[in-house]
């Protein structure tokens, strides 16, 4: 054996001879369950390399797939990001439309329950530019038969009244404006008193005597005495009562969300209105005005009941039929009288 020291030749010979005999053994032995020993050894000898190779190839494939084969991933990622943004916008738009549909459905229900009252739906397109006043701008004007001092409401409650009318737009003074006011009465005791704004989110009821019983949480509704709003439209809920001299200081949270108005209803009449239905007829007599057949429930609640056309007192007919706002065509059909 060239290259191997003579002292070690016998060791290599020993190793070779023993190895040969081991192979000889392996060729002869057949295990019951695993076949011939040489096969067992061969499989046992190769399987670690096969597993290692398989593992390594798997790693290589994963590495290739996750790192090197991602040349288009950036572009796809950008495209997916754009699509995601577009989908988010669509979701937002759909959500907005769904919310709008809900609001319009409320307006429609309200209108259907007050078919005898001429109404016009309008969209809020702007608000006052400063904090000195609380006004909103509507997308309806004189061309839509809107006139000054017409009442503006939502299904939830009173909003304000028209203070300026232009050809295609009109301006509404909100109840929260300090120059605003509406004829009101307490829902339970029927004590009447005007409600006005104070230049802040809460309204003020000024002329309730200290002797009158007023409770926090009591509803305040329109009295109809201002000739703008029909009776029993909800104005708000009493949140604070303080004794004064000679009148109590009562603060009211508006029923309508005056800070987030999007669609409103303009009452197309300058005549006193009565929004009556079956429930209002069966309501208990008012303590303040026994002759008035009004209900203590807000209009928004009674709106779900069928309208009793016989009980409704028709208002003076306004002008020509007003067109339906494009954005609220389903909820703001106009019915002139």
């Amino acid at each position: 054996m060239p290259g191997i020291p003579s002292r070690h030749k016998s060791i290599f010979l020993l190793a070779g001879v023993v190895l040969l005999q081991i192979l000889l053994l392996a060729l002869q032995i057949k295990r019951d369950s695993e076949g011939r020993l040489i096969r067992v050894w061969t499989v046992g000898a190769f399987s670690p390399f096969e597993r290692a190779g398989n593992h390594g190839i798997g790693h290589i494939r994963e590495t290739w797939r996750h790192y090197f084969a991602l040349q288009n991933a950036s572009r796809e990622n950008e495209q997916l990001r754009r699509e995601n943004d577009e989908l988010k916008m669509q979701v937002n738009q759909l959500q907005s439309k769904a919310n709008e549909a809900d609001r319009l459905a409320l307006l429609l229900n309200f209108h259907k329950s007050h078919e005898n009252v001429p109404m016009l739906g309008a969209r809020v397109i702007a608000t006052s530019a400063g904090t000195a006043s609380a006004t909103i701008m509507l997308d309806r004007g004189s061309k839509d038969h809107i006139k000054k001092n017409m009442g503006v409401i939502t299904p939830e409650g009173v909003v304000g009244k028209i203070v300026e009318v232009y050809d295609n737009t009109s301006e509404v003074l909100l109840l929260t404006d300090k120059d605003s006011g509406v004829g009101a009465m307490l829902g339970n005791s029927r004590v009447q008193s005007p409600v006005g704004g104070a230049g802040e989110p809460l309204l003020v009821m000024k002329y309730v005597a200290n002797d009158d019983v007023v409770n926090i949480g009591e509803r305040v509704v329109t009295s109809g005495m201002d000739k703008i709003f029909p009776r029993d439209l909800p104005i708000g809920t009493i949140t604070d009562i303080k004794a004064g001299n000679p009148f109590k200081s009562i603060r009211i949270r508006p029923s309508a969300n005056l800070e987030r108005l999007e669609e409103v209803i303009v009452l197309l009449t300058l005549q006193p209105l009565q929004m009556m239905n079956q429930e209002t007829e069966t309501a208990k007599p008012s303590a303040a005005k026994p002759s008035a057949s009004v209900a203590s429930k807000p209009v928004a609640e009674t709106a779900k009941a069928p309208v009793s056309g016989a009980a409704a007192k028709p208002a003076q007919a306004p002008v020509a039929p007003a067109p339906v706002p494009a954005a609220a065509n389903a909820a703001s059909t106009v019915k002139p009288e």
């Binding site: 030749k9 016998s10 060791i11 010979l13 020993l14 001879v17 023993v18 005999q21 081991i22 000889l24 053994l25 392996a26 002869q28 032995i29 295990r31 020993l37």
Partner: protein, 176 residues
């Protein structure tokens, strides 16, 4: 370094024995025949591993690891062949190959002519031989075997005693 050199010097002073023609072959065949046939009549004779003793003796005497391991391989494979189908070829072959190599290697370094040395070396080689056989059975053949029994210890002693006399007898086959 000096120790290694001394060992070589010592090796050079150990006599390498040569045997008469056919002595190794004849002794091997006789040992195999004895191992194969005598236990048929004397069961206790199976305790004596004459092929192993022959391997040890010629390994210690020839003092050439290569010839020692080859001789051990041949003797072992022949013994396997004579051991029936239940013993695969290589079982004793591997063991006696290793023993032949070790005996030759040790014989090249030590004076193994003294009966006590032969007795001790035989006991050691017998035990080593049994260990290799058991390892082969356990690892390669998946056969269970006990590592140590009194019977094995007695067999080691008996084989060592037999070896002392056998080796003395075989010494007569050397060339003078």
């Amino acid at each position: 370094m000096n120790d290694a050199f001394d060992i070589r010097n010592m090796e050079s002073h150990i006599e390498v024995h040569k045997f008469r023609g056919g002595a190794i072959v004849g002794a091997t065949l006789l040992a195999l025949m004895f191992q194969a046939f005598v236990p048929v009549y004397f069961a206790k004779a199976a305790m004596i591993d004459l092929p192993l003793l022959i391997t040890i003796y010629f390994g210690l005497s020839r003092r050439n690891p290569s010839t020692g391991l080859l001789l051990g391989m041949v003797i072992g494979l022949l013994q396997d062949s004579l051991s029936g189908p239940t013993v695969p070829l290589g079982l004793y072959g591997i063991a006696k190959t290793v023993i032949g190599y070790l005996a030759s290697s040790i014989g090249a370094r030590l004076d193994t002519e003294h009966p006590a040395a032969r007795f001790a070396l035989t006991v050691i080689f017998f035990g080593l031989h049994q260990g290799i056989v058991l390892l082969t059975r356990r690892i390669l053949l998946a056969q269970s075997s006990v590592w140590f029994t009194i019977h094995l210890a007695a067999a080691a002693v008996v084989n060592a005693i037999v070896a002392v006399f056998l080796f003395a007898l075989l010494d007569h086959l050397r060339k003078s």
